[in-house]
Amino acid sequence: MTRGSWLHRPGAQLAKYSAIAGVTTRTNLAYLADFFLRGIFLVVVMFVFVQLWRTTYGATGEARIGGFSLAEMIWYLAITESITMSFPRLSDTVDRQVKSGELAYALGRPYSYVLYLFSTYFGEAVVRFPVNLVIAGTVAFLSVGPPPVVLASVPGFLVAVFLALALNFVILAGIGLLAFWFEDTSSFALLYSRFLMIAGGMLLPLDVFPVAIRRLTLALPTNLIIYGPARLFAGQGTGAAAVWSLLGRQALWLAIFGLVLGGLFRLGVKRVNVQGG
């Protein structure tokens, strides 16, 4: 058992990592105005989406596309953009810490490096997501009216967003840790983020894809990071069974990727050489 293990005084461990997340949140809150200023681009993105889908619904004459009404489609996209733009640049940080040797300092401290990373990641995302949601939601509200969300599914949605952020964390941290073996991991991070654009349902709900591609993307865990929570907010799949299925699949993939991340970390740390004083 190490000092960072959850088996050792779990209450104290939780308090420790909550404190780390709290410090990161307060740091980010100090730059709230900057977050809103950066949100101008999100306004542009949402505005363009509204124009594109208004034109599309008008051109096709269909009331529902892929099961989504125009309002549901715009709110779906407001959530996908809010989630995507909330992801902190984690893999860059890990990559830098591995290459610079900063990681060696963290290993000697009384915390788990991976849980420390998660605390700082979550502390930042917890500020970004509401800000993005306010910005994207305002554009959506002004364009198509109130959100189609079913009130009873709001708690499930919030848990789904948390699990989505956590799932994204384990993947991004894993990519960052590849710096133990590769010269540059930014290409992997970019590949992953671009894959999320399509397979995660960021730009289009998977329901709009041709059948074969829809089946493939629904089988991949990437759909649980963006498409799943956004679809729930847009009023689709709000039944208890569907919500539990979403949360269960998220938890399962989180456990799988968590184990992979733990393995990568243990293998990587063996390559760390600490010299000097």
Partner: protein, 283 residues
């Protein structure tokens, strides 16, 4: 590194482009910098190709989005899949050319407010042109490769269409560069203009990659004036599909006006520039 080149330039009129000799020298100057920048990038060959390839994949994902979209909705606002493919070919090549040749164009604000212009002011070359060409971007060449590749593979290339593609990419590069110079030069007036300039740049690029047909009314007017994305995104239709002489003239005129505005705005800002006494060495 460019001593010989600079010695042949008696004044800082390299980019004023009045005489043919001046224009020739300017082209030679840009070409020499491009070769040197690429040679420098080749020192880290693996990283260069990785970044270029990443950008190709990035662009490919956007094109995949549009292919999926037009598979479901074949024609929207008069645009079809071929038009959007041509749009991405032109914009990617133009974007890559702008940020590849003028690698500092998106870092100009940072150079200005950090006092980094001092080193360019002491040299006998046009300051704006010199600072712009002093760097290249590895990912830019991925954009160029992608744009040319999409055109060659998916846009039914003919010699005439190749000419129009090159004209479109060139105009796109000029419009993007001039817009970036104007927004980045805000740093002369407001200090750190990074966030403002990058927001405006992202907005321009984002609007440029969507069909113009989905926008109407006041937005369309804005897209052909303040935020000149309309000229770029209408390029595949106005230039390559319909070869509309009116649009070609407007695009050429718009690009020329924007370039003049960018140079004048930078010069106006340069008069306010104060040295930061930053000591730098350029090897």
């Amino acid at each position: 590194m460019f001593r010989g080149d600079e010695d042949r330039s008696p004044t800082r009129s390299g980019a004023r482009g009045g005489a043919r000799g001046g224009l020739g020298r300017t082209v030679g100057f840009v070409w020499a910098y491009l070769k040197a920048n690429l040679a420098m990038e080749m020192e880290y060959r693996a990283a260069f190709f990785a970044q270029a390839l990443s950008m190709v994949i990035n662009d490919a994902m956007w094109v995949a989005f549009w292919v999926l979209y037009f598979t479901r909705f074949p024609v929207v606002a008069g645009w079809g899949r071929a038009d959007v493919l041509a749009l991405w070919a032109v914009v990617a090549a133009g974007y890559g050319a702008a940020t590849g040749l003028f690698g500092n164009v998106l870092r100009l604000s940072q150079v200005i407010y950090s006092g980094g212009l001092d080193v360019y002011l002491t040299q006998p070359k046009n300051v704006l042109l010199h600072v712009l060409v002093s760097r290249t971007s590895a990912s830019a060449w991925g954009d160029v490769l992608f744009g040319v590749g999409v055109f060659a593979w998916l846009c039914e290339p003919t010699p005439a269409r190749l000419g129009l593609f090159l004209l479109g990419a060139g105009l796109t590069a000029v419009i993007l560069s001039a817009f970036a110079v104007i927004t980045q030069s805000l740093a002369f007036f407001i200090g750190n203009a990074d966030t403002t300039a990058s927001q405006l740049w992202n907005a321009l690029v984002h609007f440029s990659t969507y069909p113009t047909g989905i926008f109407g009314g006041a937005v369309k007017i804005i897209l052909f004036t303040v935020l000149p994305a309309g000229f770029i995104s209408y390029m595949p239709v106005g230039l390559m599909r319909d070869a509309d002489p009116g649009f070609i003239a407007a695009a050429l005129g718009g690009a020329a006006v924007l370039t003049v505005l960018a140079v004048l705005f930078f010069r106006a800002g340069l008069r306010r520039y104060e040295s930061g006494n930053l000591v730098t060495t350029r090897l």
